[in-house]
């Protein structure tokens, strides 16, 4: 397997990250549902009056108050779950977006002509193949650029040694550069 194949086949997400996210999500949902169950249990286990008519009216009242009870409890459930899941998603997004943000910043630097550095990811960052592929691209471009410059500098060195063959050496170097650049399309 060559380096490119290795990078392309590397997992985008760690299995531990995905299973951890799912487990925490399920735990949040289970906890929220359990709290909702206990709240309903507290509300609905209040004893009924002891008289026949008292029970009748208490049940009728409860059936008419059921809508607001359910509305507010569902709203509270959704809000609490929303905040908990949003917190989990922010943590996960932080791990996913780290690589994207660093690469985007590096590309912007390259576009504006600033010196390019390799992208280093944090220990728990996801999208590792993306960072590796970016570094491979930059390394290949810089290696090629160095080869083009080496061809020109080599011709200049030969020029100093043998001024008579200077022009021929430089033209050879230009031919070599043209040939090296021809792989870019």
């Amino acid at each position: 397997m060559n380096a490119s194949g290795g990078i392309a086949e590397a997992p985008v997400f760690e299995r531990r990250f995905l299973s951890g996210f799912l487990l925490v999500l399920l735990a949040i949902l289970a906890g929220g549902t359990a709290v909702l169950f206990l709240s309903f249990r507290v509300i609905f286990t209040r004893p009924l009056p002891s008289t026949y008519s008292g029970i009748h009216f208490a049940l009728r009242d409860l059936s008419s108050f059921l809508a607001p009870i359910l509305f507010f409890s569902t709203l509270a459930y959704v809000l609490v779950m929303g905040v908990a899941v949003a917190t989990l998603c922010v943590y996960a997004f932080h791990r996913i977006a780290g690589a994207l943000y660093r690469i985007e910043a590096a590309i912007e630097n390259m576009r504006s002509g600033d010196p390019v550095k390799a992208v280093f990811l944090r220990r728990r960052d996801q999208l590792v193949p993306l960072g590796l592929a970016f570094n491979a691209f930059v390394a290949s471009l810089r290696k090629d650029r160095q080869e083009w410059l080496d061809a020109m500098e080599n011709a200049e060195r030969l020029c100093m040694r043998d001024p008579a063959a200077c022009r021929a050496e430089m033209e050879d170097a230009l031919g070599r550069i043209t040939s090296l650049l021809s792989r870019y399309r």
């Binding site: 490119s4 990078i7 392309a8 985008v12 997400f13 996210f21 799912l22 999500l25 949902l29 549902t33 909702l36 169950f37 309903f40 249990r41 609905f44 286990t45 004893p47 009924l48 029970i55 009748h56 009216f57 049940l59 009728r60 409860l62 059936s63 059921l66 359910l70 509305f71 569902t74 459930y77 959704v78 779950m81 899941v85 949003a86 977006a97 690469i103 985007e104 912007e108 390259m110 576009r111 600033d114 999208l127 993306l130 592929a133 491979a136 691209f137 930059v138 471009l141 650029r145 083009w148 410059l149 020109m152 230009l174 550069i177 043209t178 650049l181 021809s182 792989r183 870019y184 399309r185």
Partner: protein, 159 residues
């Protein structure tokens, strides 16, 4: 946001179903053998537990589905980007990345395509100038000036 919306949809459905069934049970019991019950939980407890179990399972299933869709979209977008970087390393700077997936990935694809296009223009200019300088046979002073300019242009590629 989409996880919260999914939870909200399932919770609203469960609340509506529970409201209908529990309301009907309470009214029916209030007219029938209500003297047998000590609290409302004895009437609607079983229904409530079933509905809350459905709430948990429904929310979990909706979130799992969303999670799988999101992971698939991110993975597909990232794999495209990785392939684009690897193709670029092999010299292909013109095939578009064909951005898809979440907004951040599409934005990165657009920037990458812009950088690849800019680099290809630089390389094309260098290639043309190198070929021209080799074939045009300019006088020595002009050759030296253009040679230096070419070196400066090369240095601007991935500085």
């Amino acid at each position: 946001m989409c996880f919260t919306l999914a939870i909200f949809a399932v919770a609203a459905l469960v609340a509506w179903c529970f409201h209908k069934s529990a309301g009907n049970s309470l009214v029916a019991v209030s007219y029938q053998g209500h003297y047998e019950f000590h609290n409302p939980y004895e009437i609607i407890g079983e229904d409530m537990a079933g509905k809350l179990a459905f709430l948990f399972l429904g929310s979990a299933a909706a979130c799992l589905l969303l999670f799988l869709v999101l992971v698939r979209r991110i993975r597909s977008g990232v794999e495209r980007l990785v392939r684009a970087f690897l193709r670029s390393a092999e010299g292909d700077l013109s095939s578009p990345t064909s951005a898809r997936g979440p907004r951040d990935i599409v934005s990165l694809c657009t920037r990458l395509d812009a950088y690849r296009s800019q680099t290809l223009s630089q390389i094309d200019a260098i290639r043309t100038e190198a070929a021209d300088l080799k074939n045009a046979q300019p006088p020595p002073d002009e050759f030296a000036r253009r040679w230096d300019a070419l070196k400066r242009s090369i240095r601007t590629v991935a500085p």
